[in-house]
């Protein structure tokens, strides 16, 4: 499987204040069709993208939180969330929309080092 690359997308921005997370998600959905070894790491404010109960109607911007729930259907199953980022924000796994793997920063750092490509969003 020489052609399969390990590609990690790193989400570090809050949703809605800027478009990076949303356009990042669009990129992941396209890459998912290419049968690479994809993963997504949510670090810092990036974890807010997975927060339950987002309702963007009042700000007039299209919401996209539910699209993260569709990633499973595209075989993007490796979703990693940084434990310290959750704690610092007073959040727990229960606050998140999708099933994720909560890891320490050391564990995520080691996974980063296995990647062929890291795409920051």
């Amino acid at each position: 499987m020489e052609d399969v690359k390990k590609i990690m997308h790193v989400m570090r921005r809050a949703p809605h204040g800027s478009i990076y997370t949303y356009e990042g998600l669009e990129m992941i959905l396209i890459m998912a069709a290419y049968e690479q070894d994809l993963s997504v790491a949510f670090i810092g404010d990036g974890i807010y993208a997975l927060k339950k109960d987002q309702d963007t109607e009042g700000i007039g911007i299209k919401g996209f939180a539910k699209t993260f729930m569709a990633l499973d259907g595209y075989d993007v199953e490796k979703l990693y969330v940084d434990e310290e980022s959750l704690e610092e924000r007073g959040l727990t796994e229960e606050d998140l929309l999708v099933d994720v793997e909560v890891l320490t920063s050391g564990e995520i750092g080691r996974l980063m080092n296995e990647q062929d490509v890291i795409v920051p969003h």
Binding site: I19, I59, G60, K62
Partner: protein
């Protein structure tokens, strides 16, 4: 109350443009006069006429155009900032205008408030 708005970021990439629009809309609804929206820095890209967002998304350029037409809000882009970023009269929407920073100074002087949105 007379209000000027300074918008420093482009459309879609940052929420600034959306918040500025919602604020202007609310001010007008309350009977205030929104005198002008002055576009600076990347903000000048708010009025490019070729903008073509997905059908279920807001059309930011058209929204500024309609606010201008329906409520007499001047929509102005700084000329120096525009030139750097490839914005000129050929690519901006009807109703928007490219002008100098002197106009912004006038806006700051003649209005009761200048409210800035950016990132």
């Amino acid at each position: 109350m007379n209000i000027g708005i300074l918008l420093k970021e482009g459309p879609y990439n940052h929420q600034a443009s959306d918040t500025a629009y919602k604020f202007a809309e609310a001010a007008i609804k309350k009977g205030h006069k929104v005198d002008a929206v002055f576009l600076y820095n990347d903000g000048v890209t708010n009025v490019t006429k070729h903008m073509d967002p997905p059908q279920d998304d807001r059309d930011i350029a058209r929204r500024w155009n309609e606010l201008g037409k329906e409520h007499g809000v001047e929509v102005l882009a700084c000329i120096a900032a525009s030139k750097r970023r490839g914005i000129n009269d050929d690519v901006i929407i009807d109703g928007a205008e490219i002008t100098g920073l002197g106009t912004l100074t006038d806006i700051a002087i003649r209005n009761d408030r200048l409210v800035t949105f950016g990132d």
